[in-house]
Structure formats: structure tokens, C-alpha cells
Amino acid sequence: MSDATPHPQPVPRPEPQYATMDQQAEAASFGMWVFLATEVLFFGGMLLAYAWLRASHPDGVAEAGRHTKVVIGSVNTLVLLTSSLTMAWAVHAAEHGRRTALTRLLAVTALLGLLFLGLKGYEYHGEWAEHLVPGLNFQENGPHARTIELFYFLYFLLTGIHGIHVTIGIVLIAVMAVRARRGAFSAGYFTPVEVTGLYWHFVDIVWIFLYPLIYLAGRSGP
């Protein structure tokens, strides 16, 4: 292709089914949006279960919510919001063909993701110590014990599946960072970064909703 230039600005040729790179980029981005629509419904099932639990056992959910670790939860929200900022910033850097900035910003985003997972793990550890893990070591007495158990059942599923999404996101971003460092992207071609960014922001949005549902339930009560 264009080996003549000293700093090659690689613009790969489109795959055979596309006429132009633009068409390919549009397809990739639209495909990711369709996938995100799928993800909305994937989390939606659990959210419906949560809504049902909260509506039918409000007091129990309020009590369970007060067991959650609001400090870690809030810090983690801040971490993810910031990682979304660095991700958006990274896409911006990619648009302008700034390779070093792009590499660094992707690395920072991935590190923030790791920080989120670390804090989450610390939180899980605390919950294990407090015997709040349903099915494995749950011990709780009192009138709302069973609702608290169901709350924590959903808590672990929601945060666990969200955590899997964060992990996938970190891997994708790390791959992008390596590719960026090797000069795979340019101002003319950065679709993978953009699409990874969409996924990462979506993971952030999911957390934006999980945060009040999990950590802020029942905070205004006794």
C-alpha cells in the first residue's frame, strides 16, 4: 500500500463486502449500537426482577440497601465516570491522529477500569466476611432476612455481570492501546477505537443506573 511515506498513515483497504472504508466504519458503529440495544434487554430482565422485589418487599430492600458499602460504591462511580472521560478524550485524540496521546489515554482508561474491579473485589471480600453471600455463606436473621437474601442474590448477579462487561472492556481497551502504540490507527482510520469507546460508555451507563438502585436504597430511612 503506501510504504513510500516515512511515517506511514495506514488506511487499510475495506473488506471485500464493502465499497469504501466509510461504509465499513458506519456498519461497525451501527453494529455496535444494535449490540448495545441487545445489552439493554439483557440487563433489563434483572432490572425487572429488581423492580418486582423492591415493589413487593419495600422494607426489606431498604434494610438490605443500608448494608451496602456506599463509600466504595460512590468512589467506584466516580472512577467509571472519569474513565468515560478519558475514553471520550482518547477517541478525540484518535480523530486528530495523535498517537502518543491516544495510547496513553487508552492505558489510563484501562487502569481506571482495573481500579474499579479492584475496589469491587475489596467490596465483595467485605460482603463475604459479613456473611452476605446468598447460597454460599448467607447468615442473617430478623424479619427481612429472606428479602435481604434475594436483594443480595440480585446484587451479586447485577454487579457480577457488570463486572464481566468491565473486564471485557478492559481487555478490548488494552488491545486498542497496543495497536495504537504500534501505529495501527490514524486520523483516517480509528473505527475500532470508536466502537470500543461506545461499548465502554455503555458499561458506564449501566453502572449509573445500578448505583442508586443498589447503594442508595433505604438511605433516608432509620
Binding site: L36, L48, A55, H92, I205
Partner: protein, 110 residues
């Protein structure tokens, strides 16, 4: 500083401010479900900020916006039509019957 776009910074500041607001408001006793309604309202605002500015949905083609809207529309269908049952169903409390829970039946990992 590596060319941080101003819109991104402002968006992030707004997100952090909303986070602080939702955290603070959660501790204020309010009547009925107002707490959760407010909290979810703030979440919607935050999500819209991320969607519109970080994910550039405002500048995206109509088709992309339709895909995003479809996910939300079908989520709304799931909730709304389930609500026709849950909001009108009369549940007879079982009382203190000694109902066996799952723990009494082992599956052996199958």
C-alpha cells in the same frame, strides 16, 4: 494538556456534580417513593449526558439513534406490560406455612 476538548471536561464535571447530588439527596427523608424517583431521574440525566456527548448520539445518523431508542422502547414494553399484572394482582399472603425452600432439595450440580 494533550488537547482535552472542553465539552468532554464540562460533561464530566456535570456528571460528577450529579453524582454528588444523588448521593446527598439519598439521605434526605422524602415522602413516598420520591427518593428513588429523584435518584432515577438523576441517573437518566447522567445517562443522557454520556449518550449525547461522550457517545455523540446527538451528532449520530438517525439510524443510530433509532437503534438506541429501540433498546429503550422494548425495555419500556417489558416493564409496562409486566406492570399490568403486578400492579393489579392480588397476592394472598401464605401466612407462616412451613414452606420448604430450595435448600432442602439438593441438585448435585446439575
Amino acid at each position: 494538556m494533550m488537547g482535552l476538548p472542553r465539552t468532554c471536561l464540562i460533561t464530566w464535571a456535570a456528571l460528577v456534580a450529579l453524582l454528588a447530588a444523588t448521593l446527598g439527596l439519598a439521605y434526605v427523608p422524602m415522602p413516598g417513593p420520591l427518593n428513588i424517583v429523584l435518584a432515577l431521574g438523576i441517573s437518566v440525566a447522567k445517562a443522557l449526558l454520556v449518550l449525547a456527548l461522550f457517545m455523540k448520539l446527538f451528532r449520530a445518523p438517525a439510524l443510530t439513534r433509532a437503534a438506541a431508542a429501540a433498546g429503550l422502547f422494548w425495555l419500556a414494553v417489558l416493564f409496562a406490560l409486566s406492570a399490568t399484572d403486578y400492579l393489579t394482582r392480588k397476592v394472598e399472603p401464605a401466612g407462616d406455612l412451613p414452606a420448604p425452600t430450595g435448600r432442602e432439595y439438593q441438585s448435585g450440580g446439575r
